[in-house]
C-alpha cells in the first residue's frame, strides 16, 4: 500500500506543479506584448521540452494503474493552457488591428510631396534647347561664335557692302577696337563654312546686338538661331518644309505659314516666313499688329557671294539659311509681352511661380500670369 500512498502523493505533486505552471503562464501572458512573444511562450510551455509538454513524456514513469489518471490530468491542463494562449493571441491581434487602423487613418497620401527648391533656365534658353534637340536629331551641328565680331565677318563676308546702311552707327554697336557686337548670328555662317566646308548642316543659336531704342517690343540685345544647310540639291521648298518643322517643334502644334519675299543681302532669293499669331490664333491682336501674322523667320537661298567667301563653290553646292527670331519665339511660347523683362534679371518675370516656393493650391488655372 505504501506504493499506493506514494503514488497518491505523486499525483498531488503533479497537480501542484501544473497549477504553478498555469499561474506563471498567466502572469507571463499578460506581460507578453505581441503575438510573437506569445508563440515563443507557447513553445516553452507546450513544446516537447516545454514545462507542460515534458510532463507527457513522464507518464510512463507512473505505475500502469495511474497512467490513465495522470494522462487525463495533463491533457485537461493542456486544454486549459491552450485556451489561455488562444485568448491572449486574440486579445493581442485585435489590439494590433485597431492600432493599425488608427495609424492608417493618420497616413495621408494626399499631402503634397516634399522637395527641395527648384532652379530654372531662362525662357529663351528653354526654347533654344528645344530647337537644338530638334536639329541635332536631323544631323545638324550646333555652332557658336564670338559676340564681339570682326567687321568683315559680320558684313563683308555676308555680301553686305561697305556702303550698306546696316553698317551705320545707328544700327550697329561699334567697339573702339574696330570690331562690332555682331548684329546677327550670320557671321557664324561664314565661320562654319570655313571650318567644315560643304556639305554642311549647322544651326547657330546666339545673342545679337542692334543699336536700337528699347521699348516693350524692341531690344538692343536679343537671340537668334541661324540655320544653314548646304548640299548638292537644295531648294526653296526644302527651306519652307524645314521652317515648318522647326516652328511646329517649338510650338508643339500645327501652325500656318505665310511666305513672302524679303530682302537680305546674304541670301538670294530672300523670303520672310510668317507664322499665324499664336496669341490671337490669326484673328488679329496687338502683338501681331492686327495682321494675324507674326514675322518670325527671315530666310533665303545662300547668296553665291557668301558661299564663295566661305570657300564653297556655288556651282557645285547651294543651300539655304534662315535666322529665327528666338527671342520673339520664346515670347510667343511663354506669352511674354514686354521684351525688356528678358534681360532684366528680375526673377518674377523669368521664373514660373511653381519653381519659386511650395505647391500652388489656387488659382487652379495655368500659372502663366502674363498670358491672360
Amino acid at each position: 500500500m505504501l506504493q499506493g500512498v506514494v503514488d497518491l502523493v505523486d499525483i498531488e505533486q503533479l497537480d501542484k506543479a501544473i497549477a504553478e505552471i498555469e499561474a506563471d503562464l498567466t502572469t507571463r501572458l499578460t506581460d507578453a506584448s505581441g503575438v510573437d512573444a506569445v508563440r515563443t511562450l507557447e513553445t516553452g510551455v507546450l513544446g516537447k521540452k516545454g514545462t507542460l509538454g515534458s510532463l507527457i513524456s513522464s507518464i510512463k514513469d507512473y505505475p500502469p494503474e495511474q497512467r490513465n489518471q495522470v494522462g487525463r490530468t495533463i491533457n485537461e491542463a493542456k486544454v486549459r493552457v491552450k485556451n489561455l494562449f488562444q485568448r491572449r493571441i486574440k486579445e493581442l491581434e485585435s489590439a494590433a488591428t485597431s492600432a493599425e487602423a488608427a495609424s492608417a487613418a493618420a497616413f495621408d497620401p494626399t499631402l503634397p510631396g516634399t522637395r527641395g527648391p527648384m532652379g530654372s533656365v531662362h525662357p529663351v534658353t528653354a526654347v533654344q534647347w528645344e530647337i537644338e534637340r530638334a536639329f541635332e536629331r536631323l544631323g545638324f551641328t550646333v555652332e557658336a561664335g564670338p559676340e564681339m565680331e570682326e567687321e568683315y565677318n559680320n558684313f563683308d563676308a555676308l555680301n553686305i557692302p561697305a556702303t550698306h546702311p546696316a553698317r551705320d552707327m545707328q544700327d550697329t554697336f561699334w567697339l573702339k577696337n574696330g570690331k562690332v557686337l555682331r548684329t546677327h548670328t550670320s557671321p557664324v555662317q561664314y565661320r562654319t563654312m570655313r571650318k567644315f566646308g560643304a556639305p554642311l548642316r549647322a544651326i547657330v543659336p546666339g545673342r545679337c546686338f542692334r543699336y536700337e531704342t528699347i521699348d516693350a517690343s524692341h531690344e538692343n540685345t536679343f537671340h537668334q538661331v541661324e540655320g544653314l544647310l548646304i548640299d548638292r540639291d537644295i531648294s526653296i521648298p526644302n527651306l519652307i518644309a524645314m521652317a515648318r518643322m522647326l516652328l511646329e517643334e517649338v510650338m508643339k502644334r500645327e501652325i500656318e505659314l505665310r511666305v513672302r519675299p524679303g530682302f537680305f543681302p546674304f541670301v538670294e532669293p530672300g523670303i520672310e516666313i510668317d507664322m499665324n499669331c499664336q496669341i490671337c490664333g490669326g484673328a488679329g491682336c496687338a502683338t501681331c499688329g492686327q495682321s494675324g501674322w507674326i514675322e518670325i523667320l527671315p530666310a533665303g537661298m545662300v547668296h553665291p557671294n557668301v558661299l564663295r567667301a566661305g570657300g564653297i563653290d556655288p556651282n557645285e553646292f547651294t543651300g539655304f539659311a534662315f535666322g529665327l527670331g528666338l527671342t520673339r519665339l520664346a515670347m510667343m511660347k511663354y506669352g511674354i509681352r514686354d521684351i525688356r523683362v528678358l534681360n532684366s534679371g528680375d526673377l518674377r518675370a523669368l521664373v514660373s511661380p511653381a519653381r519659386l516656393g511650395g505647391p500652388i493650391i489656387a488659382p487652379r488655372k495655368k500659372c502663366c500670369s502674363q498670358t491672360s
Binding site: 551641328t141 573702339k176 526644302n238 528678358l342 534679371g345
Partner: protein, 800 residues
C-alpha cells in the same frame, strides 16, 4: 509708303469688284509687305467751289474769322471759319447747307461765336488729307464759284507698304512702279507712262542749261529744263486730294506738281529761281562752308557733301534740300527745273550727317534709275501744260549724263532654276512671268538670256539668282509644295564649349536650384561708381546705347549683384546663374571669354559659412560631373579692381592646379553700399572661366568593384580649435597609412553646447577591410587603436 488705289487705276484697269484687302494680301505675298489697308470715305455730296469775298476777324473769338463767300449764282453767304491762310479772292472747297460729308453729316446753318454761319469751308482732314488738319483746300481760280465738285475724287483706298520691305527696290518708290507689280499680280496690262514729247514742244532755236558735273560717280546724271511763267494757281483738286491721301500736304501748285511726280515715278525734282541759277555745277562743298537750306536752317558743310552750285555759289544740297536763297518766291518769273540722279551713298551720308532726311534723300538712297531724270521732266511737262497753259519752255532739254548705266543681261541655267525653285520652269512660263515686270527673255542655247530693265538694274537685279527670285515670287512661294531636303551624311567635330556650357547650366539648374538670368554685355558705369567700383581697363563701345553704358563687362559678378539687389525685395533666398561673354583688353587684340557666374544670397545673419559651403559643394559636384575631377579652392588675395572679392575669404578655384575661376563672399562694406538691407544678408559668388575648360577631358570614373570580404566603417571625431582650418586637419590625415585602410571621408562638423566654445568637432569616416579575408573583432580594434593614436600624435583631442 502710302499708295492710292485711284492713282494705281490710272495705270492698270483694275476689276471694279476688286477687294483692296485681297489685293494687299497678294501684294504682300508677291512683292512687299503691306502694313495696312484703309478706305478714304468722305461721302461728299453737294460740295461746291466758293470764292472768298471778304474776311473779318472776330475780336471776341480768337482764331475764328467771319468770311463772306461768293457761292455762285450771284449769292453771297457768311460763314465762320478757323481755316488759316485765307485771303480775298481765293477759291475754296465749300459745303453749303444741304450738302453732306462723312465727318460732319448733313451741313446746315449754325450759330458760331454769336454769328450765323451758313455752311462751312471744308477743312482738309474732312477730305482725307490728314496733313492739312483744319486748313482749307484751295482750288484753281479757273473754277467758277458754285461749280459742283466731283464726289468720286474724294473717295479712295490707301495701301500702306512697309518701307523696310522695299529698300532694295528703287522702282517701287512711286505709284507707277507699284502699278507694274499690281498689273503683273492681277494679270492685266500696264499702261505706258504718260509723258509729253519734248521734241515736238521745243523749238530748235532755244539754248541749253550749261551743266558741269565734277564727279560722275556722285552724280551720274543731271537733267534740267527752263520755263518762263511761274504757276500761281493751286494744283487741280484731284491732284491735291491724291497727294493728301498718300500723306503729303498740298502746298503750292508748283510744289504739289513736283511732289506728285516724286510719288508717281519716284524721281525727286527741284525748281530754282532761274534768275539766280543760270548754270549748274555739281561739285563738293568746301570744308566749313555755311549754307542755308529751304527750311531756314544754316548748316555747316564738309567736303563730303555734294552741292549744286551756280557760278561757284552753292544753291542746293544735292538730293537732300534746296537753298533758301534760290527758292521760287513771289517775284520769280523763270524756273530752272532740276531732275537729277545722285549716288545713294553720297546722299545717305549727307542726310545722316546733317540730320536731314527728306522724301527726296530717302529716294536717292535707294539708287534710282538714271533714265528717270528725263522721264520725270517729260512727265512734268505733260501734267503742267493743261494746268498752267501760261508756262513756256524756254530751253532745250539739258542733260548731263557722264555715267550711263551699263545694260545688264543675265544668263539663266534651267537646271539651276529647277533645283532652286523645286520644279522645272519652261521658257514660255519664264517669259510669261518676267515680261510684265519689264524683263526680256531670249532663248540662248541651253539656257536663256534675260535683259534687265534699267529701273531694276541699279544694284537690285544683277545675277541669275536675282532673276530666279522674280520667277519664284510670281510662281508663288505659297504654291510650291514644301519637301524635306535630301542631304549627305557627314561627321562634325563636336562643339565642346557649347556642350560644356549647356551641361553646366543644366547641372546648376537641376542638381541645384539656380535660376538663369541674362544681362547686358556692358557695365552700367553709373551703378558701378555708386558702388565705388572701379572696373579697371575695359574694352569700350564707340557708340554706347546710353551714357555710362560704354564699358564692356569683364566679369559677370556686378550684373549678378544688381540682380540680387533687384530681387531681394521679393525672395529671401536667391540662387542665380548667368552664362555669358566677358571682355578683356589685350595687345594687339582684345579678348572675349565665356564665363559662368553664380551667386547665392540668403536673408539672415551668420549664414555666410553655410552659404559658402553650399556654393562650394555645388561647384565640387559640377567639376566631378563634368570632368570626373576634384576641384581645389586655394586662398587668394583679392584682385584690386574687383571689390566683390572679399579681402580675406577669396579663393582661386583650380582643377589639376589650373585656375578655372574664383569664389568669395561679399564683404559687409560692399553689401552696405549696394543696399542697406543687404547688411543682414549673406552673399556668396563664384565665377568660372568656361573658355578653355572644354579642352579638359572626362576620364572614366574609377569604380571599386564588388568586394569579396566585408568592409567595416568606423567614425572618428576630433575636437580642434575653431581657428584651425579644416584643410590642415584633412591634409594631416593623408599621411596616415595602415594596411587595412581603404578610404577616409569627411562626414561633418559640429559646434555647440556639447563641446567647449571656440572648438569644433570634425568627424571622419574610415572604411577598413582586407581583400583576402574576413576581418575579426581584433582587426577592427587594432585599427581603431592605431588611428586614434595617430590622431593624438597629430595633437587632436578625441571626441567620444
Amino acid at each position: 509708303m502710302l499708295i492710292s488705289l485711284n492713282w494705281i487705276r490710272d495705270y492698270v484697269d483694275l476689276p471694279d469688284d476688286l477687294d483692296p484687302s485681297d489685293l494687299a494680301e497678294r501684294f504682300t505675298r508677291t512683292t512687299a509687305e503691306v502694313e495696312e489697308v484703309h478706305p478714304i470715305r468722305v461721302a461728299a455730296r453737294g460740295l461746291i467751289v466758293a470764292r472768298v469775298v471778304s474776311l473779318a476777324d472776330l475780336p471776341d473769338a480768337r482764331g475764328l474769322r467771319l468770311v463772306s463767300l461768293d457761292v455762285g449764282g450771284g449769292k453771297t453767304v457768311e460763314a465762320v471759319t478757323a481755316a488759316p491762310a485765307l485771303h480775298e479772292g481765293c477759291s475754296v472747297v465749300y459745303a453749303p447747307p444741304g450738302s453732306s460729308v462723312a465727318a460732319y453729316g448733313e451741313i446746315g446753318t449754325a450759330t458760331v461765336a454769336g454769328r450765323t454761319s451758313t455752311g462751312m469751308i471744308l477743312p482738309g482732314d474732312a477730305m482725307g488729307i490728314a496733313m492739312a488738319a483744319s486748313e482749307a483746300i484751295f482750288v484753281s481760280d479757273a473754277m467758277e464759284p458754285g461749280e459742283q465738285l466731283c464726289p468720286e475724287d474724294f473717295e479712295d483706298w490707301v495701301i500702306e507698304v512697309d518701307n523696310k520691305s522695299m529698300t532694295h527696290r528703287p522702282d517701287l518708290w512711286g505709284h507707277y512702279g507699284i502699278a507694274r507689280e499690281i498689273a503683273a499680280i492681277v494679270g492685266r496690262p500696264l499702261k505706258p507712262y504718260p509723258v509729253a514729247n519734248l521734241e515736238e514742244l521745243v523749238s530748235d532755236g532755244l539754248g541749253q542749261v550749261e551743266i558741269a558735273i565734277a564727279d560722275a560717280n556722285a552724280c551720274p546724271r543731271y537733267s534740267a529744263l527752263l520755263f518762263e511763267g511761274v504757276p500761281t494757281e493751286p494744283a487741280p483738286l484731284w491732284m491735291q486730294l491724291r497727294l493728301g491721301h498718300v500723306g503729303m500736304r498740298p502746298i503750292t501748285g508748283l510744289v504739289d506738281l513736283t511732289n506728285y511726280i516724286m510719288a508717281d515715278l519716284g524721281q525727286p525734282m527741284h525748281a530754282f529761281d532761274a534768275e539766280k541759277v543760270s548754270r549748274i555745277e555739281v561739285d563738293w562743298a568746301q570744308d566749313g562752308e555755311r549754307f542755308t537750306t529751304l527750311d531756314g536752317a544754316e548748316r555747316v558743310l564738309t567736303r563730303e557733301e555734294l552741292m549744286i552750285k551756280s557760278a561757284g555759289h552753292s544753291v542746293a544740297l544735292a538730293g537732300v534740300m534746296g537753298g533758301l536763297e534760290t527758292e521760287v518766291s513771289e517775284g520769280t518769273t523763270t524756273l530752272l527745273l532740276e531732275s537729277a540722279n545722285f549716288s545713294p551713298v553720297t546722299i545717305r551720308k549727307a542726310a545722316i550727317r546733317l540730320g536731314l532726311r527728306t522724301d527726296a534723300s530717302a529716294r536717292f538712297e535707294k539708287s534710282l534709275d538714271p533714265a528717270h531724270t528725263v522721264l520725270a521732266i517729260e512727265r512734268f511737262v505733260e501734267l503742267a501744260r493743261p494746268m498752267y497753259p501760261d508756262m513756256r519752255i524756254t530751253s532745250r532739254l539739258s542733260d548731263g549724263f557722264p555715267k550711263p548705266l551699263e545694260p545688264i543681261t543675265v544668263k539663266l541655267d534651267p537646271k539651276h532654276i529647277a533645283r532652286t525653285i523645286g520644279r522645272d520652269v519652261p521658257t514660255e512660263e519664264m517669259e510669261r512671268l518676267l515680261h510684265p515686270l519689264g524683263f526680256e527673255v531670249v532663248e540662248a542655247g541651253e539656257g536663256v538670256d534675260v535683259s534687265v530693265p534699267s529701273f531694276r538694274a541699279t544694284g537690285d537685279v544683277s545675277i541669275e539668282d536675282d532673276v530666279i527670285e522674280e520667277i519664284a515670287r510670281y510662281i508663288g512661294y505659297n504654291v510650291i509644295p514644301p519637301t524635306m531636303p535630301r542631304v549627305s551624311i557627314r561627321r562634325f567635330e563636336p562643339n565642346a564649349l557649347h556642350e560644356l556650357e549647356q551641361r553646366t547650366l543644366e547641372y546648376f539648374t537641376t542638381a541645384h536650384p539656380f535660376h538663369e538670368i541674362q544681362g547686358y554685355l556692358w557695365y552700367d558705369a553709373n551703378w558701378l561708381s555708386q558702388m565705388g567700383i572701379d572696373p579697371g581697363p575695359c574694352v569700350e563701345l564707340a557708340n554706347p546705347a546710353a551714357e555710362g553704358l560704354h564699358l564692356m563687362r569683364r566679369s559677370l559678378v556686378p550684373g549678378l549683384l544688381a540682380s540680387v539687389a533687384k530681387n531681394r525685395f521679393h525672395f529671401p533666398v536667391l540662387d542665380i546663374i548667368e552664362l555669358g561673354s566677358v571682355f578683356e583688353r589685350g595687345d594687339p587684340e582684345d579678348w572675349e571669354f565665356r564665363h559662368v557666374g553664380l551667386i547665392s544670397a540668403r536673408r539672415g545673419k551668420r549664414v555666410e559659412q553655410e552659404l559658402y559651403a553650399d556654393l562650394k559643394g555645388a561647384i565640387e559636384g559640377w567639376a566631378w560631373e563634368r570632368f570626373s575631377r576634384t576641384v581645389a579652392f586655394v586662398p587668394a588675395p583679392p584682385t584690386p579692381d574687383r571689390p566683390w572679392e572679399h579681402p580675406q575669404r577669396t579663393a582661386e578655384i583650380t582643377i589639376d592646379g589650373q585656375a578655372v575661376g574664383r569664389m568669395s563672399v561679399i564683404d559687409l562694406s560692399l553689401r552696405r553700399v549696394i543696399d542697406e538691407h543687404l547688411t543682414s544678408w549673406g552673399i556668396a559668388w563664384a565665377e568660372l572661366h568656361s573658355s578653355g575648360l572644354e579642352r579638359l577631358d572626362r576620364p572614366a570614373e574609377p569604380i571599386d568593384g564588388i568586394w569579396e570580404y566585408p568592409r567595416i566603417e568606423m567614425d572618428f571625431s576630433v575636437i580642434v580649435p575653431s581657428a584651425m582650418r579644416y584643410q590642415q586637419v584633412a591634409e594631416s590625415l593623408t599621411a596616415f597609412d595602415h594596411p587595412l585602410l581603404k578610404r577616409v571621408r569627411y562626414v561633418g562638423c559640429y559646434e555647440g553646447d556639447a563641446i567647449e566654445r571656440d572648438r569644433r568637432s570634425l568627424t571622419f569616416r574610415t572604411t577598413v577591410g582586407d581583400d583576402a579575408r574576413t576581418l575579426v573583432d581584433e582587426d577592427a580594434n587594432a585599427f581603431r587603436r592605431a588611428f586614434e593614436e595617430y590622431l593624438q600624435t597629430c595633437g587632436y583631442e578625441m571626441r567620444r
